[in-house]
Symmetry: C2
Subunit: 402 residues, 2 copies
């Protein structure tokens, strides 16, 4: 059998592959990207399920509409009106099978083979995978501590009229944990508004802010081709696979609807009705605050441990929310090689390579803090810090000798 | 904004669009394709949910594996071993977000733009949509009362080396309700085995047989590139969006896994665990037998009503299972035009056009019988029969006069 070029060129998930190794009970793993399971509101969901079945009966189990359950879309719209003053109603919201599906559908809707996509470098691995299926040309733009490099973004847009959209994660980005500053958001808006491209703002972590102030979106509410993505995976449950697209652009939504029909008809309606019922009768914000408190404790523990145990020449981000810290080793030190050493000592992280569209044995790595206790974090980071010290010393000695 | 050619060329679902008209409470609709909601085992599913949450807790709500929940895959494999003597184990089974997703993923995995797909004519609309996203060349092969026209299939395969796969629904096909005969199955196998193509057998209705004997698959168990699709949508619940791919070809499965990761990471694990729990503790076959009994009654009512009320020159299929009857009007009589007349009299069906890759104002139409009582079926078919008689008479008169 011959297979398609698009599938032969799509990377399988490096993370899902290494999780097979890092999942061993002996390993202290900072490699995952899972929400902490103690954050799932299981009892409240059980109650929401019981109530939904009692009130809606067979409707939870039947085929349903492609755009998604109207009351759920209304609740999502209301959240953006309240929290961001955005002029959004239910007709601007489209429910997807997790926001991964939103990415894949947007790739299909916008991209012919060879069309351009601007990606943060480093950027979200799942987005790289999803867009690769549409065989685009990727244009990486450097992600700085406060967001995309604006001059580079402008240059890229100016020189490449094949670009169809820009993909960003403006809050507590995966993999870096960085948040775009207000100034950068405005500067990016000022550039993007001059081009006929869509701006995708993927925001699965935005509600999980434990310090600093919430910021307005880059494009949502002011760019005609703004597309905002959200998810219930990090705040309620990822197992239900519920994400959504928000856009005022009805032409985009109409194509999204056709793509969704062809892709999986509609999103699990049981899950949609259950979450709508959950949101109606539970204090969602209180629940999210508990997750924030938990992750803040864990992030603080990891940052303190890094400060104590990492070699001083290793730089790292200080997230204001979300799930990740990004570390940068000295120039020329391979994170992939460090990973080998580290796994030998039963500590896992994700080497930076899969987060780049054009990887080249990079010196960066991702650390997740949401799935370990403070004690385990201290122990794992200490171990990792020692391995780093030995490894960097060995490498630098080898360089001097060469 | 410019959109992709693949989305601009993908038909939005004619059926989903006409359902907006046909859903009015005044209309007797044979247009849908929904399982009868009284067939959903709601109490047993509620119990399965409660037990799953009690035993598995957070696992139902967390991210999960791309291939699907192992115990569910084992149960599916066991069913094919038991019912068909196929040498299938859990590693040959891959869970998808409904079998619509299986179609879309297989399109992605196999097809470069311009690659060939053999489709039944008429064929399943959702498959036409799903494959269209990969921009193939469609090669329709006539579907006869006992399956594909074999000579035409062979000719098509011989003349078109770009063909990657053949798509069939061998049991109670959608839209026609026809079932491939044993002889046709063997004859098709004898042709297909000589070509380097995959044979996709999509079998969502196979368990819903109310007459005749179950037949072995065309390719499953004997073709190297056999791909079998199944679903829980017609036997337990469509709202959960649970389908699956069965193939012994590990190369196909490995590409399916990459595509699935990129498409939606994994299928809703809550739904998978619940269905596995349901299958463990409930008499699934008894439940399916109840659906069969119900649909048999409804099919019989519709066939009897058609016999009584349709003009004699209208031909129709007599399904041995599944959900549909296919009617053929006299040559030159447009089903689309009949649909207008019929809707004016508040009876709905699906004109045949969307079921062809190259539609041309056809004289065929689909009738669904699973969502109406015997009385409503009698009333609706009588009404439709009268409209047909008047319409055919009017058309034939106009032809004679012209």
């Amino acid at each position: 059998m011959q297979f398609s070029n698009k599938i032969l060129n799509t990377p399988s998930s490096f993370i899902r592959n290494i999780l097979k190794v890092t999942d061993s009970p002996n390993v202290i793993s900072f490699a995952g990207g899972l929400p902490n399971p103690i954050s799932f509101p299981i009892d409240a969901l059980q109650e929401a399920i019981n109530n939904s079945i009692a009130h809606e009966g067979a409707k939870l189990f039947q085929y349903s509409t492609t755009q998604g359950y109207l009351p759920l879309r209304e609740m999502i719209a209301a959240k953006y009106r309240k929290n961001f003053g955005l002029d959004i109603d239910a007709s601007d919201v489209f429910i997807t099978t997790g926001s991964q599906q939103a990415l894949e559908i947007l790739g299909k809707v916008f991209l012919n083979k060879g069309d351009g996509v601007v990606m943060e470098a480093p950027g979200y691995l799942g987005a790289i995978q999803a867009f690769t299926l549409a065989e685009p040309e990727f244009y990486p733009v450097t992600l700085e501590e406060d967001g995309l490099n604006v001059a580079q973004l402008e240059e890229t847009l100016k020189n490449n009229p094949n670009i169809k959209f820009i993909y960003t994660v403006p809050n507590f980005q995966n993999p870096t944990g960085i948040t775009y500053s207000r100034e950068k958001r405005d500067a990016i808006y000022e550039v993007v508004k001059n081009y006929d491209v869509a701006l995708i703002e993927d925001d699965p972590y935005g509600e999980l802010r434990f310090s600093g102030e919430a910021l307005p979106y880059i494009g949502a509410g002011r760019l005609q081709n703004s597309v905002l993505l959200g998810s219930f995976s990090k705040t309620v449950t990822p197992g239900f696979r519920l994400g959504y697209i928000v856009t005022k652009n009805k032409e985009i939504l109409s194509h999204v609807e056709t793509a969704k029909q062809a892709t999986d008809l509609h999103t699990n309606i049981f899950a949609q009705m259950t979450i709508a019922e959950y949101l109606t009768h539970n204090a969602y914000e209180e629940h999210v605050n508990k997750i924030i408190e938990l992750y803040n404790t864990q992030a603080t523990a990891m940052l303190n441990a890094i400060e104590k145990h990492f070699p001083k020449e290793v730089h790292y981000t200080k997230p204001q929310g979300g799930m990740f810290i990004w570390a940068t080793l000295p120039e020329g030190i391979s994170a992939l090689e460090l990973f080998e050493e580290s796994m030998a000592a039963d500590v896992a992280f994700v080497p930076g390579d899969p987060f780049y569209t054009h990887p080249n044995n990079v010196n960066t790595l991702r650390l997740n803090y949401t799935n370990a206790t403070e004690e385990i974090i201290e122990e794992g980071i200490q171990r990792l810090g020692n391995i780093m010290k030995q490894f960097i010393e060995k490498k630098q000695k080898a360089t001097v000798e060469a």
